[in-house]
Structures are given as C-alpha cells and as structure tokens.
C-alpha cells in the first residue's frame, strides 16, 4: 500500500523524508513518488525543470505524477504553427506550452496522465520505465493488450497509441516523461492537432500522427486515479517506497525559485520565439466589394519574428507607399496576430483619412493575421 501524504507546512521535500511516518519505516532507497496538486501545465513543467536543475539524483530516483487542464504541449524544437491550430486554441482558451524535452506534440486534458521518471544521466533508461508502466497496467487489468514499441510508444491492441514519450538529458540529471490516455477528449484532440496553416517550410521536428484510443474505451471501469495508483504502486515496489507526496507547485518554500521557472515557460519568447527558423509562402483570395483579389505572401520567420516580408498585391489596390510601410513595420515584428493588428491599426492613424483606403487596409491586415 502506498500511503499518500500532503505537504502542508513543511519546508523542503527533504523534511518529509526525514520525518518517519508513524508506524511506517522511512524510505530506505531515498527515492520519491511525488504528485502535483496543480493542473496548470506551466507550473507542472516548471517542476520538471526544477527537479532537473536542483535535485541531487545521485542515490535516488523520482517519479512525478501530474495532470493538466486542456493544453497543447509541443516539443523543444517544434513549430507550433506546423503542429496545431493556433486559432482554435485561442478561441477555446486552450493553453500552448513548449516543454524542454524533445519529441512531438501532444494534447493534454484531465483525462490524460503524465509521468516523469527522474534519474541521473547514467541511469537514463526509457525502456525500463515504459515496461514498468505496462507491468502496472497489466497488474490492474490483465486482459489489456498493451505493449511497448521500439519507438517508445505504448500501443493498445497493437494498433492504437495510448502513450507517447519524450526525454531531456542535462549534464548530470535526466528525465523521461510520457503521457497515458485514460479518458481524454478525442474530438478536441484531433481538431487542435490539425494545423490549418499552409505553405510552411521548416526544419523543426515534425510530429508523427497516430491513431489514439482511450483506455476508458477499452474498459469503462478505469479512471485516471486508478491508473496513477497502479503505476505508483509498481514504482514503489521496485524502489522500496512506502508513501506518495502531494505538493503544490506554486509553493516557493518547497521549491525555491519555482515561480520564476513557471513565468519563463509562459513567455512569448520561449513558447513562440524558440521556434526554429521557418518560411511561409502562401497565397489567398480576398473578396472586396464585387471583386476577388489574389494576394501572395512570402515571409521568413526567425525566433518567432518576421525577418523578411513580401506582399504581392494587385497593382494599385493599395498605394504602394502604404504597402511599403506595412511591410517595413512587419519586418522585425512578432509573427503574432495581436502584434500585427495593433501595429496595423496604429499605422492607420498616420495614413490619409479615406474610408475606402481604411477598409481595404483593414481587409488586407485581417487576412495577414489569419496566417499567424
């Protein structure tokens, strides 16, 4: 039995370790199972960073259990425009996060559980971790047909992906994290992970799409809590741990410096600015009054900012000086709808005050914004 205990007024996790639980012997291995009480993807990712940077993993291993409210998480070297429908994310208020480990894009919600295995760099061993998960699942429901592929995915019924993996290795520490689909919203998942943006060319790590299935669909009696418990149980057995610690990732007394890490993960420069260089080359139609116009746009985006911009409009539709102004202002600005709309509308103040001109300008800018 793995006891749960929560961190209330205690300072460091070390304090908990040193305080023997009444009637239970304190952990002999020094390894830990910890669970976050937060569903904020940024806070939870910050915990991973924190443990990676500050915890001494020489003689211990840590299993971190967490779940997030709806969020899309892209890999360290991925391109969010390529990977997901950013417009839909903004509309539905689904967060976008970039994690520090590699790999592909995943959709998280409360029906998906996340597991992070922390070890020293030398003891980094993904297969072992995934086999542990499969063992736990089989112990819970022996009839489940789950196995680990050599791409480090876990498949259900040899067909459906229920878990994806990613890892981060630092100088001395390493972590391997994976998802596990219990009861996620597959409809939202498939709609947000489909990118509407055309004409993108980049060297960013692409995701490999896969058919997914929830474990809940296979066995409706399963819940996220049961899966978490089963996996924690298996880990506890293998590492001689007798209790699980729950904690609040926003608590600076437990994790000093955590809030800075959380903030950093939310900055535009991290989420979008870390996108490897890419180019956009596309054309679209604009309907204006009774005519349809063809517009061709070419842009190079580096660090999330427009390095080079070229807009090809039908001749004289907009005064070329004005068009030039728009292109000049876009150059160097963020490849971001908010930035573009505020920039474009601010520029309009110094243009000739002509309603016709204004409506054409607004139409062009709205279409440009649709690309971002």
């Amino acid at each position: 039995m793995v006891l749960q205990s929560s961190l209330k007024n205690c300072l460091h996790l070390s304090y908990i370790l040193r305080t023997p639980k009444a009637g239970f012997r304190s952990t002999t291995s020094g390894s830990l199972i910890i669970q976050s009480t937060s569903n904020d993807v940024y806070q939870n990712l910050a915990v991973e960073d924190w443990i990676h940077d500050h915890m001494n993993l020489e003689n211990r291993q840590v299993l971190f259990l967490w779940r997030n409210s709806p969020a899309v998480v892209i890999g360290r070297h991925q391109n969010p425009w390529q990977e997901c429908n950013l417009r839909l994310l903004r509309q539905k208020n689904i967060k976008l996060a970039r994690r520090r480990s590699g790999g592909g894009t995943v959709y998280h919600d409360l029906g998906n559980i996340n597991l992070t295995f922390f070890t020293t760099r030398k003891k980094y061993e993904r297969m072992e971790n995934l086999k542990l998960v499969v063992k736990a699942l089989k112990a819970l429901r022996p009839q489940l047909d789950v196995h680990v592929t050599d791409r480090y995915d876990i498949l259900l019924d040899r067909q459906y992906k229920i878990s994806g993996t990613a890892a981060k290795l630092g100088r001395t520490a390493a972590y391997h994290h994976c998802t596990l689909l219990c009861n996620a919203d597959k409809f939202v998942l498939s709609s947000v992970l489909k990118s509407p943006y055309k004409g993108l060319k980049s060297n960013a790590t692409p995701s490999v799409p896969a058919s997914v299935k929830n474990l809940f669909e296979e066995d409706p009696s399963l819940t996220c809590e049961m899966l978490l418990d089963a996996i924690a149980e298996e880990y506890a057995t293998q590492h001689q741990i007798d209790h699980r610690i729950t904690f609040n990732p926003a608590d600076e007394t437990v994790l000093p410096g955590i809030n800075n890490k959380t903030k950093e993960l939310q900055t535009w420069d991290w989420v979008y600015g870390k996108t490897p260089k890419f180019s956009v080359s596309t054309c679209f139609n604009m309907v204006y009054k009774d005519s349809v116009l063809d517009v061709k746009v070419d842009m190079d985006v580096k660090h999330g900012r427009i390095e080079v911009c070229n807009i090809d409009l039908p001749e004289q539709w907009l005064p070329s000086a004005l068009c030039g102004e728009l292109v000049k202002s876009l150059t160097g600005s963020k490849f971001c709808p908010n930035e573009t709309s505020t920039l474009a509308t601010t520029l309009l103040r110094v243009c000739p005050q002509d309603d016709e001109l204004h409506s054409r300008w607004n139409l062009l800018c709205e279409n440009m914004i649709m690309l971002m």
Binding site: M55, G170, R171, N338, E339, L347, R349, V350, H358, E366
Partner: protein, 493 residues
C-alpha cells in the same frame, strides 16, 4: 612580489578566489615562478597586470582543445544539432550550456567541460553530430588546469600545479582549483572530505555529498547556486562554480566594480508604429486645460447601480459614465469630434462618437474604441467596455475595434497620478486624461468642510481648430454632468 602574486592568481583562473594564506609562503613563490616560466611562453606574463582576466581581446596564447561529444546513453551514436547557445569567439565557463542536440525524442543539453573561448563550431544547425567526434574547439587559457573527469581525453597541462599546492598547504589533498573554491565558499576543510577520484582526488561530487550529509538537504547546498534570479540562456544551473567570474572576494580597499552592460535592441513591430504615430502627433500644436471634478454624487450612484449591472452580467466601472458624458458634451461642441486633413484645408466633423479608451496591455498602449456612443446607453457602453477589456487582455482585439476612433479618454488614474499631459492620437483633435479619485476636504455651499471624492482631468486639444474657450466650455459641461449625474437624464437621447 605583487606582480608575482597577480601572476599566480591569474594563472589559477579568471575570477577565482585568491587565497590570502598562499601569498604568505614567499619562499615557494620563487620556486613556482621559475616553474611557470619554463612551462609557458613569454605571452603568459601579459596577464600579470590583471588580477581578473577580462577576455575582451583575443589573446591566443592558450591551447586549443577539441571538445568531443560525449556519450548520450542508450547506445546512441548520432544526434542532430538543434540550437547553439554560443558562437565563435564567445567565452565559456565550465558547465555553461553550449548547445542543444536532439536524438529520437530526447533533447540533450551539452555543457562545456572547460573554461575558455570558443574557437570553432564543428556543425551547423540541423546537421548530424557524432558521439566521440569533436563538437567545438575551445581555446583554454594555458594557465588554467583542465578539470580532470573520468572521460577526459587530453592530459591536463597543469596537473603538476596541484602537487605544488599540496606542498605549500602542507596537506595531502588533491583537488582542482574549482573544487577548492567550492570547498572554500562553503567553509569546508578539504582534509575532512573523502575523495573518490583518482589518487583519492576530491571531486565536486564529493564536496556536494559532504554538504548534503551535513545539512540533510537534497538541494545543492550553496545558496549561490543562482536559483533567483535565473541566469540567462543556461538550461542547467549547477552549484557555485558557475558564477566564479562574478564573485571575487575583494580586499577592503578595492572599489566595487559594476559589471552591468548596456543592452541595445532594435525597435520593431508595434513600437515602430508608435514611433511614427507619436512623431506625427507632435506636429499637432497642443494646448492643455485641466480641472477638478467632484465625483461624490457619482460615486454614490455607481454603488447603487453596480449590483443591478452585476445581475445583468456586466461589471460597471466609472468609465461608462465618463464616456457617455463626453458624448453628450460632443453633441454641443462637435468640433472636438472632428478631424483635420493633412493639408489643413478641411475640417471633417465626424457624425459618430467613437470614443477610444486607452488600455495598458503587456505589449504597451492600445486604444480600442466604443462605437457610436451617441446612441448607446450607459449600460450598453459598460458591456461593450467589458468585451473590449477581456479581448484586450487576451490579446485578441480585432482591427475593427482598434480603428475608427474620433475622441479618446485615458484613465491613467487607475494606475495613479493626478494631472497629466496627454498626447493627441492622430487623426483626432482632442484627448482627456483622468487622474485618480482622491478623498479630499472641500467646502460646501454653507462653508462647511466635507469629504469630497475629487478627480482631476487634463485635456489636450489641437489649437489649429480648437480654442481654449471651446475646450473650457466643453469641460465645464462634462464636469456638470458628472458632478450632478441626474442632469444627464435631461439630455439623454
């Protein structure tokens, strides 16, 4: 003597601790000096004038070491280089992050094993790098030792330095300068630490383990592990050795050196557009007119109406009242809602009162406007403001909301301030800045002192088409509506 001391300290490493007690052993110094002269060429003596090594000039007297890509684990032999954190010519310290590589869903941060200057990057972005092959060339300052680790390839040129120290100190402890410094910072006697390296050499891990046992803490013991504030650009934040360049304990007489640097950034995007707009605005001859408004009655009215609005799902602030009152005033003084063309030949009196509300967002100042205030009720204005505010904070304001404004109000008082000098946003001709509401003593009609809710307003207007008298009359009208909200009822359409 001083020169030799300096030479010794610089030879230790840039910015490392100078052990006071070592200076005292004069007899040995001469011995070391001659040893150094044998090992180095003359150019090393250039460093003697500095106690602290500033690597601004490329003094290439050091040896170039090829830093090879170390084993990733899991039998991986090749990785893709995804991001470089440094470029050729940058100086790095041991444990600084050099690059990020990716292999099969694993992202690996490669950190430097040496202190030195990057002389060559062997791969470009997105190229495949091989384990065991050179990743970067680092020029190591020849006076420094290479920290011995299990899989270092080159023999450290300074290994005999450590033996020499051993003799001076009278201890038999073997440890690199970095490890010694770490021990010193944490007040640890090296003699008490068990060394687990070759020849019982004390490694950094030994110090950390020793400290962990002392405090029982999991966390790295040194408070100088820069948890707050985080160091820029580095993925891993190891303990103390990282900040050796910045933490030199200084003898009392030495002045504090400020090592901050100016940072230049290009002005881009939105700010570039603001530069244009504000430069154009400055061409408008502004005049200002300020006044004080007694909002005591309005404050009371709002308190009564707030719950009613809440029931309808709208948050009611003071702005809807200010905006509606302004619109009523503009009906009487339409020149304030006008626009002057570029050549200043024609004035256009705008029919719609699209009153802009300045908003402070993460990006900076944006001014969405409420359209056609002249036909909106106070409640409608309030709900529209709610919509604009939530879109503004989410960064989702559309072009329609941001264009077409004819008059602007800026409620800077929510942040603070009393009187201001607002700048007119072209193509408009007037703007008002509202200060904060303060409780101040005022005299009433009977000559008694009472508590009044006072707010200051500062108007700016385009003196080419608006004169002071017009502005003053408009302001008085606006003020009378707000000081006596019931009077608004008479003129509401």
């Amino acid at each position: 003597m001083a020169a030799v001391t300096a030479l010794r300290s610089s030879c230790r490493a840039a910015g490392r601790l100078v052990c006071i007690h070592r200076v005292r052993s004069c007899s040995s110094i001469r011995f070391i000096k001659s040893k150094y002269v044998c090992v180095f060429d003359k150019s090393a003596l250039k460093f003697s004038h500095q106690q602290r090594l500033f690597r601004t000039s490329a003094v290439s007297c050091g040896q170039i070491v090829q830093f090879k890509l170390s084993d990733i684990g899991e039998g991986i032999t090749e990785v893709t280089v995804k991001e470089w954190y440094i470029k050729e010519g940058d100086s790095v310290s041991q444990f600084d992050s050099i690059c990020e590589v990716q292999s099969d869903k694993a992202s690996v941060t490669i950190t430097s094993r040496y202190d030195g200057i990057i002389r060559k990057l062997h791969y470009n972005l997105d190229e495949i790098a091989y384990v065991g092959k050179p990743l970067v060339d680092i020029e190591i300052d020849a006076s420094k030792g290479v920290a011995p680790e299990e899989d270092v390839v080159e023999t450290p040129p300074m290994s005999h330095e450590e033996h020499t120290h051993q003799e001076i100190k009278g201890h038999k402890t073997l440890a690199t300068p970095a490890v010694r410094r770490l021990a010193m910072e944490n007040n640890i006697k090296l003699s008490e630490v068990v060394g687990t390296g070759k020849d019982n050499r004390i490694l950094k891990e030994d110090i950390l383990n020793y400290l962990a046992k002392q405090t029982g803490a999991i966390l790295p013991p040194s408070p100088k592990a820069e948890i707050i504030p985080p160091l820029p650009k580095s993925e891993t934040v190891p303990a103390a050795p990282k900040d050796k360049a910045r933490k030199i304990p200084v003898p009392v007489s030495r002045p504090v050196v400020f090592s901050g640097k100016d940072k230049t950034e290009p002005i881009t995007g939105f700010h570039k557009a603001m530069v244009k707009t504000m430069s154009a605005a400055l061409k408008i001859p502004h005049f200002g007119y300020c006044d004080e408004i007694d909002l005591t009655q309005l404050v009371q009215l709002r308190e009564e109406l707030k719950p009613l609005a809440q029931i309808r799902g709208v948050k009611l602030s003071f702005m809807p009242f200010f905006i509606k009152a302004a619109s009523l005033g503009l009906l009487q003084y339409p020149v304030l809602n006008a626009s002057l063309d570029e050549s200043c030949q024609n004035v256009t009196y705008k029919a719609s009162h699209n009153i802009g509300v300045a908003m402070d967002t993460e990006q900076g100042l944006i001014v969405p406007n409420v359209k056609n205030v002249q036909v909106c009720s106070v409640f409608e204005i309030a709900s529209e403001l709610n919509r604009l505010q939530s879109l503004g904070s989410a960064g989702q304001l559309g072009t329609n909301d941001l264009t077409g404004g004819t008059f602007t109000l800026s409620n800077i008082g929510t942040i603070g301030g009393t009187y201001a000098k607002p700048v007119i946003l072209p193509p408009e001709v007037a703007i008002g800045a509202l200060g904060k509401i303060q409780v101040l003593p005022r005299f009433n009609g009977k000559g008694e002192v009472f508590k009044a809710q006072i707010m200051n307003v500062s108007w700016s207007a385009d003196h080419r088409i608006i004169d002071g008298a017009t502005m003053a009359r408009f302001s008085n009208l606006w003020k009378s509506y707000l000081e006596n909200p019931a009077s608004m009822l008479l003129d509401l359409k």
